[in-house]
């Protein structure tokens, strides 16, 4: 206990004029005055700057907050727009699909009708072609028979035209011409 109090109060060394931890009274006074002057100067010159700086920082932070809020609002608006557009796209897709289905159905109906008509026309044409081919074959056959029989007849007649026949034909011609007037 004595040691503790000695350390704290220096009671142990009588040569000491004052306590080792505490300054002298004059120093306390000068130091206090100097401190007051410094604090006053600081209050007068530095504090407004600090306040101004703090206000600017506050304003900047507020501005950033406002900007963020605006961006968020804009983002939300964009998101709403996108959602609405998605809805519109979906509706448009459904409309286009429905329209395509309607058109496809109409085309299918038209196509079936046209195919039925074309098949009927083809059948009719095939029937006509067949009939024409039958007729043509008959005609061609008849023509071929005529041609062959004519050729055979001509060949037979020419082969039979000997000199006697030629003379008979010539005399016949002279007599028949001479008989006419």
């Amino acid at each position: 206990m004595n040691l503790m109090s000695g350390v704290l109060f220096g009671a142990g060394d009588p040569s000491q004029t004052h306590h080792w931890l505490l300054p002298e009274t004059a120093e306390i006074i000068y130091g206090g005055i100097a401190s007051l002057i410094i604090f006053s100067a600081l209050y007068k010159f530095a504090w407004p700057m600090i306040v101004k700086s703090m206000q600017a920082r506050t304003a900047k932070i507020q501005k950033e907050l406002d900007g963020a809020a605006a961006a968020r609002t804009k983002s939300e608006a964009d998101a709403t727009g996108i959602r609405r557009a998605l809805g519109d796209i979906d509706a448009e897709r459904r409309r286009i699909l429905a329209e395509a289905e309607t058109q496809a159905a109409a085309i299918l109906v038209d196509g079936r009708a046209r195919l039925v008509k074309e098949v009927a026309e083809l059948e009719a044409k095939a029937e006509a072609d067949l009939a024409a081919a039958r007729g043509r074959s008959g005609e061609e056959l008849r023509g071929e028979i005529v041609r062959l029989s004519s050729a055979a007849m001509a060949a037979s007649i020419v082969a039979s035209l000997n000199d006697r026949a030629h003379q008979d034909l010539i005399e016949g011609f002279i007599n028949s011409v001479g008989a006419t007037k």
Binding site: S150, M153, I157, L169, I170, E171, G172, F173, V177, K181
Partner: protein, 175 residues
């Protein structure tokens, strides 16, 4: 060739033959020669081929007609070939025959036969045709195997056809 040129050449041939005094012989020989050129494609090709020298073509004519026709006929055909008018020789000769017939107040009667006619047949045929048409005729007989048999006579626009070829054609159309 234009009609005017054919006319000019035929007149020239006519005058030469007449001047030589053998018009009837020349026109008959030239008529036969013209029909031969008409019916023989090879002969026509040689006589009208401009790539063959003229004297060579004239030699062909002289070789063909030499000894078979009068000298006047040979010279006249040679003249036409030499003038590069062999293609028009049939037309020139036809006009010459018409001119010669007109000179004798006769009309040309062309008769086509598959075989040659005897002199007697030719004479009787001329008389028969003359009697039938009531005109004096200058008969020209052409041997044309394509008629097959019988005769066809053409006098001006009138045609008397009694050929085997025509009868066969008529028979074909009846089928």
């Amino acid at each position: 060739m234009s009609n005017a040129k054919i006319e000019s050449y035929s007149r020239a041939l006519f005058e030469i033959a007449k001047a030589e005094g053998n018009l009837s012989v020349v026109e008959d020989e030239l008529f036969r020669m013209a029909r031969a050129i008409e019916s023989n494609e090879q002969l026509r090709g040689i006589l009208t081929d401009s790539t063959i020298p003229v004297d060579r073509r004239q030699q062909v004519v002289e070789k063909l007609l030499g000894g078979k026709a009068s000298n006047t006929s040979v010279q006249l055909v040679s003249l036409i070939v030499g003038a590069g008018r062999a293609r028009d020789l049939p037309a020139i000769v036809d006009r010459l025959v018409q001119r010669a017939s007109s000179e004798q107040q006769r009309e040309v009667a062309e008769v086509r036969s598959a075989v040659a006619l005897s002199e007697d047949q030719t004479k009787r045929l001329a008389e028969a045709l003359g009697k039938s048409t009531g005109r004096k005729l200058n008969l020209k007989v052409v041997v044309d195997p394509s008629v097959l048999g019988g005769l066809v006579a053409t006098v001006g626009d009138e045609v008397i056809d009694d050929t085997v070829r025509t009868r066969l054609e008529q028979l074909k159309t009846r089928f």
